[in-house]
């Protein structure tokens, strides 16, 4: 149990996908302008992360390894991730067209979210229960920093910000300081 907790904290905080491993930066910057897009993006990404983990883990251990095709894992994983994202997109379009519009291009782009492929490649050889804890920890870590960053960016609208820094530059500076703060977890676990 404590081993799983260490794994969870390890991936959620110490090796946070966004702020420590610098994976998944496109949705981190792209969907954090408003909390209204950051929260659904978090949920959609978490959903995709957990479902792809199940799918790619099964695919790797029950198809690729027995057939000796481990070298095809990247192609196989991208295929699995793309199908899950396609499914998620269809589902969101059905239940909330407004949300579908809000997330726009970032929804299909979950396919190319490097955090998800990175996750699939990292957990392929772990036992399934550890892989699931890893996926949930990764999703929680991604969601927490994305939501915090979105609410922080809403505060960065001040007129006092020098013109050269307005918009994306100051947001990237804030992301940098967030990464600086997360460096405090270094060496834990």
């Amino acid at each position: 149990m404590s081993e799983l907790l260490a794994l969870f904290i390890g991936i959620a905080l110490v090796n946070n996908f966004v702020l420590v491993q610098f994976l998944g930066l496109c949705p981190y910057v792209g969907t954090s302008q408003r909390l209204e897009t950051a929260v659904p993006m978090t949920l959609a990404t978490a959903f995709v992360m957990i479902l792809t983990t199940l799918l790619t883990h099964t695919l790797y251990n029950f198809l690729l390894v027995p057939l000796g095709l481990e070298y095809l894992r990247i192609i196989a994983f991208i295929f699995a991730i793309a199908s899950v994202v396609q499914m998620t997109e269809l589902y969101i379009r059905q239940i909330s067209p407004v949300l579908h519009q809000l997330l726009g291009i970032y929804l299909p782009l979950i396919t190319s979210n490097c955090a998800i492929l990175g996750l699939a490649l990292t957990i392929a050889e772990l036992p399934l229960h550890q892989a699931m804890v890893y996926a949930i920890g990764g999703a929680v870590g991604f969601g927490v920093v994305l939501v915090a960053f979105a609410s922080l960016r809403e505060r960065l609208q001040s007129e006092a910000i020098p013109r050269a820094f307005r918009g994306t530059p100051v947001a990237l500076l804030a992301a940098g300081f967030m990464a600086l703060a997360f460096a405090g977890f270094r060496g834990m676990g």
Binding site: L35, V145, V147, A148, F149, S151, L152, E154, R155, L156, S158, E159, A160, I161, P162, F165, P169, V170, L173, A174, F177, M178, L180, A181, F182, A183, G184, F185, R186, G187, M188, G189
Partner: protein
């Protein structure tokens, strides 16, 4: 801000008396660098009157060890004032505590130059706890890095900052709620982690209150009105979080002390805490 500077004086005096005159050079260097950066960013001396740049410079100088090289002081002060404050729109708009942003940046950029060595007793008590192998707390605490109730020397510095902090509460510059919650946060976490003295124990709450930067952070850094929440629920969560995170970083991470990172981490969540506080008040 004049009150804050007055309140810092006993701590600075004890710090300089125990750690040597070099600390005065470090504090002077960071303060002057912060003031010059402030003038360069605002292109006027008008904003100097609020004293915020001076306090930022003083706080960075107090965090850095006496042996810090001059250019490290310079980099820390420039990052603090120019990037963490003025790029975000100046005083009142900055999201991250400038002093802690500058200090954490040089801690990460020049780890070998900013290792906290005490000029009097060699490695500090927190350094020894972080790199002690399997020695028990009794064995470590017999070394001269440990004092009567806290870390050697640092216990008196912390006591002086505690007195300065009580002065700030007495003249109503800060409210007692925030520093009390920081102290409670680190105390409760230290108590829960303290198993009596095995090789993984990290000392009693009393030791952790009077080691490292506890009192300076609780009364002077975490209380920064711009980067801390304004509603009561937010303040309690923010301050307890800083205390708990600082203690967890002290014990589990590879850093000796965790306050700079704990404050920056808490800063990340202040806008969210403000938002939650607003919705709570508007619904009640």
């Amino acid at each position: 801000m004049v009150h804050v500077m007055v309140a810092l004086l006993p701590g600075i005096a004890v710090h300089v008396a125990l750690a040597g005159w070099q600390t005065l050079v470090v504090i002077g260097a960071t303060t002057i660098a912060a003031l010059v950066t402030e003038i360069a960013c605002t292109r006027s001396a008008r904003d100097l009157a609020d004293g915020s740049a001076t306090v930022t410079g003083l706080l960075i100088g107090l965090c850095l060890p006496a042996s810090t090289l001059w250019f490290v002081c310079l980099v820390a002060a420039i990052i603090a004032v120019a990037i963490a404050k003025h790029a975000f729109g100046g005083l009142g708009n900055n999201v991250f505590n400038p002093a802690m942003a500058g200090y954490a940046a040089v801690l990460l950029a020049y780890p070998a130059l900013v290792v906290e060595f005490d000029t009097v007793s060699g490695a500090t008590a927190l350094e020894q706890l972080a790199h002690r192998g399997s020695t028990t707390i009794e064995e470590v605490s017999t070394t001269q890095a440990f004092g009567a109730f806290g870390a050697a020397n640092h216990e008196w510095v912390n006591l002086a900052f505690l007195i300065g902090g009580l002065y700030l509460i007495a003249v109503r510059v800060i409210s007692p709620l925030l520093p009390l919650c920081v102290i409670a946060g680190i105390g409760i976490t230290a108590f829960l982690l303290d198993d009596g003295g095995s090789s993984t124990s990290h000392g009693s709450p009393l030791f952790n209150w009077f080691a490292g930067g506890t009192m300076l952070s609780a009364f002077f850094i975490a209380t920064d009105p711009v980067t801390s929440p304004s509603n009561r629920v937010g303040i309690v969560v923010y301050a307890l979080g800083i205390g708990a995170l600082a203690m967890l970083i002290r014990k589990y991470s590879s850093w000796p002390d965790g306050f700079a990172f704990a404050v920056l981490l808490a800063n990340c969540f202040v806008p969210l805490l403000e938002r939650i506080g607003r919705t709570r008040t508007s619904t009640s």
